[in-house]
Structures are given as C-alpha cells and as structure tokens.
C-alpha cells in the first residue's frame, strides 16, 4: 500500500506549515519580505506584522488544528469518509449562540459577548447531544441526536434573520456566519486556544477506540472498547474544539471534511493514525486559504469560508470522477 513513514509525513506537514506561516506574515495588501521583519525602522510595518498578521496566523493554525482533528475523529467514529465535524450539530449550536447575541444587539457594546454566546451554544449543544443520545452506545443514535441539534440550530438562526429588527442586523448576522480570519486580534487567540487545546487533547486519547471501530461496533466492543465512554470524550473533544473555532471565526466548512480524506491513503487508512496528521494538515489548509484570500486582487476581501466552498466543488468532482473510474 501507498503508505509513507509517519515521521516523513508529519515532518513534511510541519515544513509546509512553517512555510505558510512565513507566507502568512509576509502576504497581504502590503508585502513585507521577512528580511524586513525585525529592526525595521518602519513602525507601521512591524505593527502590521505583529499586531495584525501574527494573531491572524496563530488563529488560523488553532482553528485549522481544531477542524482537522475533529474531522478525522468524526470520520473514524462514523466510519464514513465524508463525515464532517459539523454533523454533531455543535458547530451550528455555537453559531446559533453567536447569532443570538447579534440579534439582541448586545455584541456591539460588549465585543466579548459574541464568542461567549457561541461557547455557551457549543457547550449547551454538547449537553443536549449527550442527553438526547442517552446511555446507549450506538453510533446511529448519536448521529441522529446531532441531526436534531443541527435542525434546531438552523431554525434558530433562520428565526433570528426573520425577526431581525433592521436590515443592518441581518447584514451583520450573515456577515458573521461567513467564516473569516480577517481583523482578528490576540483576544480571539486567547479565547479559542484553551478550548481547542483541551478538545484536541481529548480527541487524541481516542486513537485506539477509533482504530478498533474499523471492525464495527460489535468488533470494537469485542476488543474491550467502552463505546459509551468513547462517545462522551468525542462529544466533549469535538464540541470544544469546533465550538471554539466557530466562536472566533464563524463557520468554515470543508476543512474538517477534506483534510482527513486527503491524508487517509498515507496512513494506510488507520483512523487513529490520522489524528495528528489531520491536525497539522488542517492548519496548513486554513493558512493556505487565508493567504490566498489576502493576495487576491479584489477590493473587498473574500471571506475564507467562501474561498473554501469554491474549492470544495471541484474537489468533490475530482473525487467523483476518480470513484467512477475505479468502478468502471
């Protein structure tokens, strides 16, 4: 099989990530080559790099790690190569929480309220997920519970749009929903980092159970895996990582779905071995997308989520063509 040594895979992804960090600090409306970063007499330039681009870059890495690792975990858990971290409904609940603060108009006076609302939505979502799916260990009930959350959250967001007092509020909600890394500061980094770290650490403990689930639920249980415990850890891990990501950037699709999918052949399909590479590759993809968005010559900066959606369609087309060729 087309597997490559793990050290090479992780090393390669790390090199890519470092290159993209350099690019991300240099690129934008003003190009600042790295030779000018330090000791530049120009205060303006160092401000751009350290106050604007550095937090944006760090945030991109955090969010990419959270989405990548969550996607890998969800695909492994559901044994569905096209599952997305969003299917648990926690990200839409986070979005609903954020939109609620926008709707109430509270976020403009107290900017911290929006991410706080999103985190409350996410944690509430996790709790509802666990209550709804009950004490059973079945994957299907878990996914169904996620679908219920997704539906409720989507209805809530639509309701907020419907009842929004002013067109301006509608505009603000829609703008926020389109995920982006633009104009983020150290505050967002501080907000998201602990949750994404804890969430990712929780998910990382699931490598063995996810591997064992290769043999289905009965197979995993026959290997001594406690599926109920697995589900709790997964709900908290993915919920925190994805919820915090949504809280600071809005909805960014595609990353969580595509990252593990692309890497699977390189780890001989083992779901547990996919977690760390997916975390790194998630960061790579988010940063790459964000650099591209910034250097595109348009007057209004394209939202990151829009750019991701734009590459999404051709990606799935390529996948489909590939599958059809194999089937033929």
């Amino acid at each position: 099989m087309r597997t490559i040594p793990r050290a090479l895979l992780i090393g390669g992804l790390l090199v890519l990530l470092v290159l993209l960090v350099l690019a991300s600090l240099s690129a934008g409306k003003v190009w600042i080559p790295w030779s000018d970063w330090f000791g530049a007499a120009d205060d303006m330039r160092s401000m751009i790099i350290f106050d604007l681009r550095l937090p944006r870059t760090v945030l991109g890495i955090i969010v990419g790690v959270g989405l990548g690792i969550s996607g890998a975990a969800m695909q492994g858990y559901t044994r569905n190569p096209l599952a997305d971290p969003g299917i648990l409904g926690v990200s839409s609940m986070a979005a609903f929480g954020a939109v609620a603060t926008l709707y109430l108009g509270a976020a403009s006076s107290m900017p911290w309220l929006l991410p706080a609302g999103a985190m409350i939505g996410a944690v509430g979502g996790i709790a509802m997920l666990l209550v709804l799916s009950g004490a059973t260990s079945s994957v299907l009930t878990f996914i169904l519970a996620g679908m219920i959350l997704n539906t409720v959250a989507t209805a809530g967001v639509s309701l907020a749009l419907n009842l929004a007092p002013t067109p301006w509020a509608v505009n603000e909600i829609i703008h926020w929903l389109l995920g982006s890394l633009a104009d983020r500061s150290v505050d967002e980094v501080r907000m998201a980092l602990p949750f994404v770290l804890i969430g990712s650490a929780l998910v990382l403990t699931l490598a063995r159970p996810l591997d064992a689930l290769t043999l289905g639920e009965t197979g995993a249980r026959s290997l001594g895996i406690d599926l109920t415990r697995t589900r709790w850890i997964l709900a908290f891990g993915v919920g925190l990582a994805v919820g915090a990501s949504v809280a600071v950037t809005g909805m960014i699709g595609f990353v969580g779905l595509v990252t593990p999918h692309l890497l699977r052949p390189f780890v001989s399909a083992r779901p547990g071995a996919l977690l760390v590479p997916s975390a790194l590759a998630g960061a790579v993809i988010v940063l790459a997308g964000d650099v591209i968005v910034r250097i595109l010559p348009s007057t209004v900066e394209l939202k990151l989520s829009v750019a991701m959606a734009a590459v999404g369609a051709p990606f799935f087309l390529a996948l489909l063509i590939n599958l059809r060729r194999k089937a033929a």
Partner: protein, 257 residues
C-alpha cells in the same frame, strides 16, 4: 481450569423467544461445536457467551465472575470473538487488522516488538502471511475469514468463540483451521464454534451441542449428539451414519416425509 457457564439464558426479540432458559457450561481445553437449524439462536448464544449481548434473563460467568460485570478490557482479554459477518470500515492492510487484536492487551500504548512478534505468529498460524500487506477489502471471503481468526488469536484469549469460522473456506483450509483450534485447546484455550457442516462437527469437535427452538436438543460426544433422531428433530431430515476412511460420515438421506 477456566470455566464458562451460562445459566437460564433467555433472549427475546419482541414476541419471538430465541433462547428459552438455556443452561450450559463449557470446560476449557475442548472444542465444542454448536449446531442447529438456521435461526436456532447459535449466533445469539455465542454473542451472549462472549459478553457482547446481555441476555434478557439469566447469567453468564467466566471463572466465577459475571461476564457482564467485568471491565470491558478484562473481558476482552479473556474472550476472543471473530464475528460472523464483520463490517470492516476501512481498507487497512491485513497486518494492521490482525494487530487490532492486541487492543485489549496494550491499552493505549502502541504495539511493541513483542506484540509484533505475536501478530506475526497469528498471521502464520492462519496462513495469511503471504497477503499480510494486502488491503483487507480486496481479500476473498475465505481469506478474510482467516485474517479475522488471526485477529482473535493475536489477543491470546482464554476462550475463542467463533461464529461459522469454516464458512467460505475450501476443504484444505477447513482442516487447517480445525487443527489450529485443536492446537489452541492443547494450550488450555476453550474453543466454541458454530458450524453448519455436520461432518466437520463430527470430525473436529470434542463435544457437540445441538440447538433447536431456543433450547439444547442434544449435548455430548459428537456421534451421540448427532444421532439420526436428533437430526430429525433439529433439521427435519433423515440421516444415516457410515464408517468412513477418516472416521464416521453423516449422510443426509432426505427431507422428512
């Protein structure tokens, strides 16, 4: 010696009673074949014995401990269970699949050289070494079946509960797997297999359990348990036993009536 005891097992699906107060005990170091018509409850019994499906009524105990009270990992170390129709979600290679069998032994650490050695032995024991690097999803049914037995062996279980392990194997491999099971009993492992091939049951088992209508219809040495009367009752077929070159042979003469 290890003992596996089921007491008054009852399992129902809705109105349908599949196991009806079944009691049976197994000694290690024996191959027990469980036979019976389709839907007799063989797979259900095996799942209950393996600690994977709590019966609606009754208990299962292994070495005096209730199997449904044991910690999952402890239970998994004792009971090897290659499922009858396993789903395999990802196209992992055979060695990785067999390596999964070590899961209850290693907890969250990775496979060590010693584990790899055990995996290699399991691959060799079921004769799947030649395609150890192949994607499991590209294997034939029989090859995959052997890989799954290797997976169970890799966990070094005290009990091996195999649901139709010979289905899909050619006659040569059927004999190989039969002697593999025999070898395991020599090391003190208890082997319980469900079979459809009565001839193989006669040939490989120390004891045969005939299930029907949720109860034990016969239980004992193979030739006694598989008597023409029992076969008539269990399957509704008329059968005769002949002496063959390698032991007795069961000939199915025809359907009742």
């Amino acid at each position: 010696m290890s003992q596996l005891i089921a007491t008054h097992l009852g399992v129902s699906f809705g109105e349908k009673t599949v196991l009806d107060g079944l009691s049976v005990s197994f000694d290690a170091a024996q191959v027990t074949a469980v036979v019976g018509p389709n839907g007799a409850g063989k797979s259900t019994l095996l799942m209950a014995l393996a600690g994977l499906r709590a019966p609606d009524r009754g208990h299962v105990s292994v070495d005096g401990a209730d199997i449904y009270s044991l910690p999952a990992r402890d239970r998994a170390q004792r009971m090897g269970f290659p499922a009858q129709t396993p789903e395999i979600a990802w196209g992992v290679d055979v060695r990785t699949l067999v390596g999964l069998g070590r899961t209850p032994r290693i907890g969250s650490r990775g496979l060590t050289a010693a584990d790899d050695e055990i995996v290699t032995q399991a691959l060799a024991a079921t004769d799947v070494t030649a395609f150890a690097d192949r994607n499991v999803l590209t294997l034939s049914g029989g090859e995959r079946g052997r890989a799954l037995i290797a997976r169970a062996l890799a966990g070094e279980p005290k009990w091996l509960l195999a649901d139709e392990p010979l289905t899909g194997l050619d006659p040569g491999f059927q004999l190989d797997i039969a002697s593999l099971f025999r070898g395991m009993t020599a090391r003190g492992c208890g082997v319980i297999v469900t079979l459809h091939d009565l001839h193989m049951a006669l040939r490989m088992a120390d004891r045969v359990l005939v299930l029907g209508e949720g109860r034990v219809l016969a239980d004992g040495a193979p030739q006694e348990a598989l008597s023409p009367e029992t076969l008539m009752r269990a399957y509704g077929v008329e059968a005769r036993t002949w002496p063959g070159a390698a032991g007795p042979v069961i000939e199915i003469v025809g359907r009742r009536g």
